[in-house]
Amino acid sequence: MTPTPEEEVIAGVTKGTLDFTADRIKAWAARLANRDIAFIEDRTSFDVVADQKRNPEWSFYKEYVKTKELRVLIRIGLALRKLEGGHANLQSLRKNILHKHGKKGLHVAQLVQDGDLGAFIGTLLSKQMSKADLGAAIEELLLNVDKYVVFIKSDIATRRVIESTAARINANLPPALLICGSKGAKGTAEVVVKGVMKKIDGYELSIYQNKVKVVYLIMRDESPSDD
């Protein structure tokens, strides 16, 4: 029986994959040195990270963030966003980040994954900052994510979080502080923000929200005072 075109293709692929002569192996090694070949396990999982180079959001971050570790974590945050929806690798990736970069690293990636960093930058852009100031503000936030970002959960003791957040602002006078709440924690985040704003001076509040999340940006008021 004459093979169908599909069978011929399959036969060709099989022949091709069985052709692993010593010369071919040597040629591969030479091509690796020449940077024109790479060996990967799975194209899809590789592309989740590699294809970020075509993501305009990544291009923006790459332009403004110069610290290498932060750039890796930002890229991973974008990959986490792409992997959302019960992907099997999601948990193991989070474990890897925690192991290598600690809680702080995980928070940076989460900030990017959830779009909170984008909301923060959107507010900064509306203030018409210079490129250098914008880059410095983004790096400052990410390098001090544990100090400047508060992730609110629905079951927290609000009074304690209000006290500690206000105390942190009054002691360090940070240029900006983010309070983020998702889904069931949106209402709790609102209570916290209202409480904090009553206890601090010289800061203005911006809000970014959508159906599932809210980000409160508390920024130091840099406008010149009258006195």
Binding site: T17, F20, D42, V49, R75
Partner: protein, 109 residues
């Protein structure tokens, strides 16, 4: 006036056939090969050619020790590795290692 050959990077799938385009640009191709399609003995032969080894499950370094991923410290298994250009780097296949590699060595064409 010297010929302006602009560098264009593209994956193996995006093959540029236009001869005039090829003459005026230095086209860089990167072929991505799936290790799933390569039998274990060929993988081991490639690793040996690159100065590594294998014990049947794990990749071994040039001293015969189990190789650890330089970015995550994970042991690199034969069935879950990446071999990437840049002094032929062998890594564990996970997004964190890939992101670190791209940061250190630049984007793949």
């Amino acid at each position: 006036m010297g010929h302006d050959r602009r560098k264009i990077s593209c994956g193996a799938r995006g093959f540029i056939r236009d001869r005039d385009f090829q003459k005026s640009h230095q086209v860089i191709f990167m072929e991505l090969i799936s290790l799933k399609e390569i039998p274990t003995d060929a993988k081991v032969a490639l690793l040996k050619e690159l100065g590594y080894g294998a014990d049947g499950v794990y990749v071994l370094d040039d001293k015969g020790q189990r190789l650890r991923d330089k970015y995550t410290d994970a042991l690199v298994r034969l069935e879950n590795m990446l071999i990437l250009p840049g002094s032929a780097i062998v890594l564990d296949d996970n997004p964190l290692s890939i992101a670190n590699y791209l940061e250190e060595f630049g984007e793949l064409p």
